[in-house]
Amino acid sequence: MSVPASVVIAGASAAGLSTAETLRRQGFDGRITLIGEEVHPPYDRPPLSKQILSGTWPDERVWLRDEAALAGLALDLRLGARAEALDTGAKVVRLSDGSLVSYDELVIATGVRPRRLPGTADVAGVHVLRTLTDATTLRAALAGSPRLVIVGAGFLGAEVASVARQAGAQVTLVSDIEAPLSDVLGPQLGELLVGVHRDHGVEVVTGARVEEVLVSGGRAHGVRLAGGHTIEADAVLVSIGSVPNVEWLAGSGVEVGNGVLCDQYSQAGPGVWAAGDVASWHHPGLGERIRIEHRTNAAEQGMAVARNILAGEDRSPFAPVPYIWSDQYDLRIQIHGLPRGADAFAVTEGSLADRKLVALYGKDAQVRAAVGINMVRPARAARALVATPTAWETATAVQEGVTP
């Protein structure tokens, strides 16, 4: 199989950059076009809800690579231009600036955008958090200790609650589930996190659906919940999940559903690949199709795609142990594997009461995930039980020091 002459990467965030860097590291010296909708050089998103929102880092600190490192990649870098249409027959991508870019291999890394509440896109005081501009706008809104309502208690909502509280805002966290992150981490750690947020003065409203954002004079002044109860606020953050950016692929023949539908090699069709938040691929180890919107996966999948592009027939399935971390107050939460949908739970080190622990999650009698709270090394050790399929009984028995 011959090496391609040109690779076009649509999306210049972590996954796109990782693909470009890996291609170069592997010796690819053809043309690499990296297309980014934003005008900024590739930057990192996890610090947006942490160091950038709190103001502890200058904004430039999120650049993933400095100017020299970026120049060293010899990219055909198209910033401020969006991939708008794809012709897989002619192998051409059309950009929003009207230019056409041809490719031998295309990598789709166009990511996701925040879901919004209907009718709130242009309302002052309603925020989402995905881009650097979103983060600096929300940071400005946090000055002056406002009343902030956060709609949605996933990782993003919970992290912002933590930062906003420490910045002096009066924070209400509204979730339609029973506890922050309980849909991912289960009721035990969900409850632990509710307790942590309440201890820090956050009002946590659970099992509540936000029906509408209250607006007067073009400005948000609160939210109304199903049932009629209202919560007054100066600012509203909507963090209710994301939508994959796949609309530009309409009519291209690339199959999309919840993301770009790929096989186990992250390939979506002849000459077309996907990486990062937008990629929905068949994970051979889990035996199911997944899409992961987390930072580590973006880097790992970008690397995997670059290698497979150059590997020809020797390509490898992409079967990572997914990794997520979240910082909330003084808690560092680390998740190896996929706890969502588990049917067994056990704390194997530390305790819920101490808020310092390692917990295992099982499904179908196998360990499926290991979660650590402020126990970094033990959590990494427990990852081995996820990486190599381990029977639930064996793992929990050994961990507790009980002879089976």
Binding site: R25, T296, A299, E300, Y323, W325, R332, R377, R380
Partner: protein, 64 residues
């Protein structure tokens, strides 16, 4: 090859330890990366490049 670490950026993921256990470790208390060998032997180059690439906080810089 010379490795430098930005400890402030490190998020304690430990992905670098998984990729290159002879070059990286983590502190016991907070999991921040510990550099075992800033100038590793050539046999470690590929693993170190992977570790830097997979670091979810872009905390590892490699000069070659």
């Amino acid at each position: 090859m010379h490795i430098t670490i930005d400890e402030d950026k490190c998020c304690a993921a430990g992905q670098c330890v998984l990729a290159a256990p002879e070059v990286f470790d983590q502190r016991d208390d907070d999991g921040i990366v510990v550099l075992l060998d800033a100038d590793p032997p050539q046999a470690q180059y590929a693993a170190v490049r992977d570790a830097a690439a997979v670091c979810p906080a872009a905390a590892i810089a490699v000069q070659e």
